[in-house]
Point group: C2
Chain length 458, copies 2
């Protein structure tokens, strides 16, 4: 006998309940993307290798899944690399295609390839799976969905304002309260680098500063000095160790701290515009917070940087992120295309909503009623009604076999179907149905119209 089949590690099967819950989240994200004027595109699951390779750094190149060429791929394999058994170098000669690693590079490729058909500024969203040959661990998969919204072709900061609103709107629609939308700006980070006089130490600096809550001011300073940041430099940014207050207050502090840095002051101005307008327009359920340690994708973003933290009750990493990148399409030869976008982390949002018990019960609803099968004549009578109920938009089904009645009721129970419809000889004769509520056990004899109304209402 064959051994029980399995799936590759890091991948998942989704059961009906899981699919329903995932689609509930996706549908809300999608609806709000469209309400904000974003339009969907879809790109192929695999791209030409040259489109992807070299875009995510060396580590990224390793994590990209490559597709073996079809046919006699060894015929065209590089003989030297083959002889040397050099896997890394051989790959290019036996694999021309690779699974997409994210949605941003394919989007950039799309914009350049279709630039003459696109009306700019172009607001696009894309909800598709991506693949990474990462080591699987809790919450990290080799196949997962990304949900991205980006605008390309305008530098207007109103877009940053709207993207913060979009986060707030989506998370509110999902019932998530207490989400924190963190904002920073690449130019603030450059300003800090200017002030500490060590742009190569910037990441060490932000990583250490981010530990303030955990290891305290002295701990952070010790780590910074171990990384080679001078005591004098640390002293210059002393205010960052007591960086509290409202966003406006924080921005004021930054404008003092970064006064000498032209780049830094530009960042302050951008932050001020975005935060002022967001605050004046107001958020529903989320809090906007300025976090100068936020530095995700440092080499990538050029302006605003976003990251979203779930409600504090849930211990979980970020559930969204994004930012401004001034040269999205340059890698494909189209210069001066500024882009700004955000992403929603579907898997983590799912876990947060699950943990907070916020999925509506109706999400996983199966059929409203199961018609019990007493034999062919009864099944036919039932299907006549089923046909009309479905036409009225009601989900109903017939148990396919004339099995023991207890077994059929058990099936309804296990499937979570709330009603059974019983129609035997007597009901057929009187053109009626017995509608049984499987939760309360109540049942009553009704004509078709009442059956329909009852099921519509329930």
């Amino acid at each position: 006998m064959a051994s029980k089949p399995s799936i590759p590690k890091g991948t998942r099967d989704f059961s009906p309940t899981e699919v329903a819950k995932r689609h509930y989240i996706i549908q809300i994200i999608k609806n709000n993307f469209e309400k904000f004027g974003f339009q969907p595109i879809e790109t192929p699951s695999f791209e030409n290798s040259e489109t992807l390779m070299g875009k995510y750094g060396e580590e990224g190149d390793r994590l990209i899944f490559k597709i073996l060429n079809s046919g006699d791929y060894l015929a065209k394999a590089n003989a030297t690399h083959l002889e040397n058994k050099d896997s890394t170098k051989l790959t290019a000669s036996i694999s021309e295609k690779a699974l997409r690693y994210d949605l941003t590079v394919p989007f950039a490729r799309y914009v350049v390839q279709h630039q003459n058909e696109i009306e700019f500024p172009f607001k696009r969203y894309q909800i598709q799976p991506v693949w990474r040959a990462d080591r699987p661990q809790k919450g990290r998969f080799r196949e997962f969905f990304q949900c991205d919204a980006d605008v390309v072709g305008s530098k207007s900061l109103w877009q940053e304002v709207e993207l913060v609103q979009l986060y707030d709107t989506v998370f509110s629609a999902l019932g998530l309260e207490g989400v924190t939308i963190k904002i920073n700006n690449r130019k603030i980070l450059s300003g800090i680098a200017d002030v500490i006089g060590a742009s190569d130490k910037l990441i060490d600096f932000t990583v250490a500063l981010d530990k303030l809550d955990k290891i305290g001011e002295d701990g952070v300073k010790k780590e910074m000095m171990e990384k080679g940041i001078s005591a004098a430099a640390i002293l210059k940014v002393q205010p960052l160790f007591h960086f509290t207050g409202t966003i406006s207050e924080k921005i004021s502090q930054l404008s003092v701290l970064l006064a000498e840095s032209e780049e830094g002051m530009k960042g302050v101005e951008e932050l001020r515009f975005i935060c002022d307008n967001v605050m004046k327009l107001g958020l529903s359920n989320s809090t906007l917070d300025l976090d100068v340690t936020l530095a995700r994708g440092l080499n990538y973003y050029t302006g605003a940087i976003f990251e979203v933290a779930p409600p504090k009750a849930v211990a979980m990493g970020s559930i969204g992120g994004g930012g401004r990148y001034d040269d999205l399409t340059g890698i494909f030869g189209l210069k001066n295309m500024s882009g700004v976008g955000i992403s929603f982390g579907l898997d983590r949002i799912y876990l947060v909503i699950e943990e907070l018990n916020l999925f509506p019960e109706t999400v996983t609803a199966t059929s409203k009623a199961l018609f019990i099968n007493y034999g062919d004549a009864e099944a036919f009578y039932g299907l006549q009604a089923i046909q009309k109920l479905r036409a009225a938009g009601i989900k109903v089904e017939l148990y396919p076999d004339n099995a023991k009645v207890a077994k059929q009721f058990q099936h309804a129970d296990k499937r979570g179907i709330p009603f059974a419809v019983i129609a035997g000889e007597q009901e057929i004769a009187s053109d009626t149905f017995v509608l049984k509520n499987l939760i309360s056990g109540e049942q009553r004899t009704v004509d078709f119209e009442s059956l329909k109304q009852d099921l519509l209402r329930s």
Copy 2:
């Protein structure tokens, strides 16, 4: 300068309009799958190679996209095959995973793997992409969606009845009239093989018979004899050359023709049950037709065989197909699991609906209104209204930049946005908006409430 990027042959980018149209079709299919009691599952894009290989014949094995192992894959490569440069044999040692080729084998794998969690009969649907390294040609792609609904765990023929209804319901909902749902039965084909005394010639026989309209009775008979079917055998099935009339009449003819074949008569009984009940329950817009030349996936199906032809006005191959397979999960060690299912051909359905001009205009609707940007104060005033309009479910957007007004109106025009909202100093002072219909050119000054009502109504 980099050359313009491209995508792998046989794959496609989908523009916003195309995505909207595809999702319109998918949504209708999905809604009706659920109305008929089917529940969604999703499986990983790639499976372990052993799950897929050997399941689709030699040709299928060749057409499966294999994923190169990550890391130093040559270290574990089979040395002999490597030395012999035997691509086919080497593959298993450098590739453990492969992209799914269809949704049926992954479904069978899913059922076996999760058999203890599944409540049978299990009605599942699955709408996901599949990949085939086929030679791309018009209407044939290397990445395409399949939309499958299957029931596993019951032999009841009521399911075949409902699947015919499901086809009719979906195509009616799509506005497609004149679809032909062709039905046959594997056992009828076995019966014919019995009668002509040559089961190995069955495919030759049906392929030739299928050409009756094109090459006439004499042509068909000539071809059959060339393929080694005896004149005596052909004489025995003479009625199939004048196989006309209603379905009931055709079934009667078959019951005479196949009287000597036990298997054939079983097929006649099954066909009679399904067709009788379908006809008595009635179809909305489709025609059921019995086609004894229908033999798709002959080695696979064991009972009913379905295929759907588009309206005659459109020259296009089948837009759907399916059937009964008595041993779906045997390949993975779970015996006696009968399944029956149907599939919708998304790409071809799209082309048919496009050709018949049946996509509703609303499918591709973008934002309802574009707020013209006259500067930061006006943009802020506009965003206050936009925020409330979006909360009311209305898709609206702000032009991000304070660009020339003509350019902004042109943007609305190119995007197909039907209204512009204009608010300058004067409107801000009076708390009003100018709503301009971009099709008629009409414009009027309104307060927020009227703006909202007008946009909701339009």
